[in-house]
C-alpha cells in the first residue's frame, strides 16, 4: 500500500494538498507516481497564473503516459517547483517532499473541506484508484 500521510488532503485525481500558513502546497501522491512510472517531464503554470479547483493546471509525463494535473483548490500560483524542469524524477523519489509542484494562495476557504481526508483517499486507492 502506497504511503498516504495523515496530515494531507487529497483529490480523486491523486493530487495532495498541504496547508502551509495561508498557502496550499500541491503535488501528486505516492500512489500516482507509482502508477505513472518514471516521470520524464512536468509542465507547470507560471507564477501569477490562476488555478481553479478540479480544473487542469498542468501536465505530468511519464515513460508510459501523459496525465493532466488537477488543482485541489482555486487561487493564484505564488510559487512553482522549478527544480522539476531539470529533475522530473524527483516526483518519483520524494512525491510529498522535494517533488512538490505548486504553492497556491487560495481564493476560497470552503474548498479545503471538500477534499478527501487521508482515510477517504486510502479507501479510494484500495478500490483501485477510481
Amino acid at each position: 500500500m502506497a504511503n498516504v500521510p495523515k496530515e494531507l488532503r487529497y483529490t480523486r485525481e491523486h493530487e495532495w494538498a498541504k496547508q502551509d500558513g495561508d498557502r496550499v502546497r500541491i503535488g501528486i501522491t505516492a500512489y500516482a507516481q507509482e502508477q505513472l512510472g518514471d516521470v520524464v517531464f512536468v509542465e507547470l503554470p507560471k507564477v501569477g497564473a490562476k488555478v481553479t479547483a478540479a480544473k487542469n493546471f498542468g501536465v505530468v509525463e511519464s515513460v508510459k503516459a501523459v496525465s493532466d494535473l488537477f488543482s485541489p483548490v482555486s487561487g493564484e500560483v505564488v510559487e512553482i517547483n522549478g527544480e522539476l524542469a531539470q529533475k522530473p524524477e524527483t516526483v518519483n523519489q520524494d512525491p510529498y517532499g522535494k517533488g512538490w509542484m505548486l504553492v497556491v494562495k487560495p481564493s476560497s476557504k470552503g474548498e479545503w473541506d471538500q477534499l478527501l481526508t487521508a482515510q477517504q483517499y486510502e479507501e479510494l486507492i484500495a478500490q483501485g484508484g477510481h
Binding site: F41, E43, E61, A65, V66, D68
Partner: protein
Amino acid sequence: MPSRYIANTPDEQKKMLGVIGAGSVEDLLVKIPPKARLGRPLGLTPALAETDLIRHMSALAARNANAESHVSFLGAGSYDHYIPSPINHMILRGEFFTAYTPYQPEASQGTLRTIYEYQTMIAELTGMDVANASIYDGASSLAEAALMAHSVTERKEIVLSRAVHPLYKRVTATYCEGPGLRLRDLPAPDGVTDLAAARQLVTTKTAALVIQTPNFYGCLEDVAAAAELAHAAGALLVVVADPVNLGVLEGPGKLGADIVVGEGQGLGVPASFGGPNLGVFAAKTELVRRMPGRLVGATVDRDGKRGFVLTLQTREQHIRRAKATSNICTNVALCALMATIYMATLGRRGLVKVGELSTAKAHYAAERLAKVPGVSLRFPAPFFKEFALKLPKAPDRLLPRLVKQGFLAGVPLKNFDRSLADCLLVAVTEKRTKAEIDAFAAALEKAVA
C-alpha cells in the same frame, strides 16, 4: 465479363450474395431513392488495351510544359534545382519505396535512421536545435508554427508580413480559425517587411512575428532585427526559409529565430506540378514538447548498441488525444528521404555551390533582363535567387508566347497581389546556363516589342 482490376469473379460475387440472401448486386442498392441514382450506365468509353492506354496517357502528358521540356524560371516556392541521380536509384529500393513509414523500431532501423539523419541535417542548416521528421509542405509547416507559438505564449495574435508566401498565409488563416487566432497584416512596401510598422503591431498580445527570407518576392529580410523586436515583446520569431539556400545564407536560428519552417522541395524533390512537397520544421530545444509532428531519436538497445526510435510520442494524438500538440502524426517520409540523400550527396561544399551558382546566375539574369526596353526590376532590395520584374505588357499575354519558344518565364503576381498585376516573379537556379538566360532575354525582348 470478369474485370481485370476487380479481384472477385462473377462466381464469387454470386456466392457472397447467396450468403446474405440477396439476388443481385442491384438488390443491395434498393434503399437508395431512385431519383438519387443515375438510371443509366456511366458514359465511359470502352476500356483500352494497356499499350493503347499508355500511348493515350503519354500523349496527354506531352501537352504539359514542364521543367524537362522547357527552360524553367518558375519559382514562388517550388524550384527547378538539379536532382542528382542517386536519389531516384535509392528511393526505388524496396526497403524505402513507400509514402508510409513503418515505425516499428524492430523492423525499421534503416528508415528511422534516414529520418534521424534528415532531422540532424535540417537542424544544422537552419541553425536550430531540433527538427521534426517533416510535415506536408511549407504552408502547413507555417500554419503549425502559428499554432505552436500560440500554445507556447498563450497569446492570440500572429503578425504576418505581407511578403510571406500568400498561399502559406491562406493555409495559416484556415488553421487559425478553429482556435480563434487573429492574423495581423504587416506591410511590406518595396518588397521588404516594414520593421518600423512591426514595432507598432508586435505587442504583448502577439504570439509570433512571421517573416520569410528570402521572402515571396525573393528579397532578403533583416532576421536579426525582427528577432530583437519580437523578443522585446515576449513574442516568438517564426522564419520561413528555403533550406537549399542555407549553404550560403546564415541559418535563421543563428540570427534569433525561435521556429524555422519552410518548403524543402528544392532539396532533391521534383516540382511535380505542385506536390507532394516537403514541410520543414525546426525549433529550439526548450520548445520541443510543443513541436508538432513525428520525431526520431537515437538511443541504445539493451546490449548497448545504437538504435533509432520514435521519441516524445506522448505529444501526439494517439496518446494525448484531443490535447495533442497537433493533428499531424505523420510525415512525408519519401520526400524527406529524397532530401536526406540530396544533402548527403551534395555535402557541405555542394550546398554552398548550389547557393552560390543560383544567386550569381539570378543576378546575371536580373541585370540582363532589366536591360530589355520597358522591363525593370520591381523592387530595389537585395535578392537571392528570385526577383520581380515589371513588364510593359500584361504577363498573361506574354507567357503563352514564351512557352511556345521553350520558356516557362515565371509566375505572374497578379493572382497574389492586384497592385503587382504588371509583374512577373522570375526564379533562377544553378541549372540555368548563360546561353539559356541570354536566349530568354532575347525572346522577352521580342515579346514585349
